[in-house]
Symmetry: C2
Subunit: 247 residues, 2 copies
């Protein structure tokens, strides 16, 4: 039986999502819990995609195959007891054998968070990026963001190490709003290239503080050259919010 589960994690103390030898990763902790529960070393989970070290998730999605027939409550209880407290399984239910956490995904939503607080709260140090003396202008950022909406080749906005050859992606929504002292970017698209959201956050930040003009976002996009996009924004401001499927 195939189970689809939603996972939330605080990325602070992980070397990213994907299993790596000798590193503490989200995947290795989840697979460890599944193996302990099943007393079976071959069981493993598949996620919608990886996240980098320091990146958080509210709603990562995984699937795994199991011979066990349990209620959702039992799955949550068993896995959350075995998992460290910086990973929580939020939901778990059976899906068809055709469901695949990665290949069936129709879209993803990410958020990027900055804070304008004059002094960052010690409680938020790993959960939003402190702007300090820089005060990005919301309207400029929004003007710049417009150029990214729709279907484009995002070569300029992904890591030069990206292996994927097809760099065309569709951004269906890109909003930037102020909430109390926070500046929150929400982006939804069919899929994202490696480092793409953090590069977009970095470019719109540069526009916000006046280093670039809003219209230059279009030029950066057209250049198809990663060097044009400047600095990638820090990982700890980024959250994978949800993954959508054709359900």
């Amino acid at each position: 039986m195939r189970i689809k589960a939603t996972v939330s994690y605080d990325g602070t103390q992980f070397s990213g999502y994907q299993s790596q030898p000798k590193m503490r990763t989200v995947q290795s902790e989840i697979d460890k819990a599944l193996r302990k529960m099943h007393k079976d070393d071959s069981i493993h989970s598949v996620a919608s995609g990886r996240t980098d070290a320091g990146v958080h998730a509210w709603g990562q999605v995984i699937h795994f195959d199991t011979p066990l027939n349990l209620t959702e409550d039992s799955w949550l209880m068993a896995l959350n007891v075995l998992l460290p407290k910086d990973i929580r399984i939020l939901s778990a239910h059976p899906v068809s054998e055709e469901f695949h956490a990665r290949y069936s995904a129709k879209g993803k939503t990410y958020q990027y968070r900055w804070t304008r607080k004059p002094i960052q709260s010690p409680f938020e140090r790993n959960y939003s990026v402190h702007l300090g003396k820089w005060n990005p202008d919301l309207k400029r950022m929004q003007e710049g963001a417009v150029h990214l909406l729709g279907t484009h080749d995002f070569t300029s906005f992904c890591s030069s190490q990206t292996a994927t050859s097809n760099k065309v992606r569709t951004i269906r929504m890109l909003e930037i709003e102020e909430k109390n002292d926070d500046l929150i970017l929400t982006i939804e698209g069919d899929g994202f290239l490696y480092n793409m959201v953090r590069t977009i956050a970095g470019v719109l930040y540069a526009v916000g503080i006046g280093w670039d003009e809003p219209c230059q976002v279009a030029e950066i996009l057209e250049a198809r050259d990663r060097k044009r996009a400047g600095k990638t924004a820090p990982s700890h401001g980024l959250y994978l919010m949800s993954v959508t499927y054709g359900e």
Copy 2:
């Protein structure tokens, strides 16, 4: 010149407030920053009181003596650059030589936080106590709390290791409220004995879930016996919110 400063810290990664050999403590980090800044190994800070390992602070107060005459902005800038990100100095200004962070304190406010969320968010794991299946009744807790208001001998509500001989303290305010999924206890008094707020939280929790009756709080108080009060609530739900002075 004497400086009074307000300090916020995330207690998660500290072995409490007070300096201890080979341990990471809030005081040792603050004193290290002060010494680096002054290039003087004799400078040290005095706090309103210590907090235990895992206990947080929004508004701890300290004082220190300095030959430097700086603006508040310069103090904040210099100290916050030198301090680790889980400690932030929120304010700093000159006070009279008679001001003493501990002896001049007229009152303190603490909060204790539980969460009723069915599954605790990984982002809150160090910042509130997860109630899980236990659902304390707010009204029962409030009924129990009434007995603690006013001036009493709090022998039953402090660690048996408390060195202080005078265990009479005055609680001026004790409120318990629900906010979204959180249960928040706010307590204000002239001073608190070692482990006193966490013992009160533990007793009111036991009343809330029906292990004790609200009226038994008065009996526990009158017994002047720590054994009567049951389990101390976990440290990571506790916050030192503010310290008041006769200003």
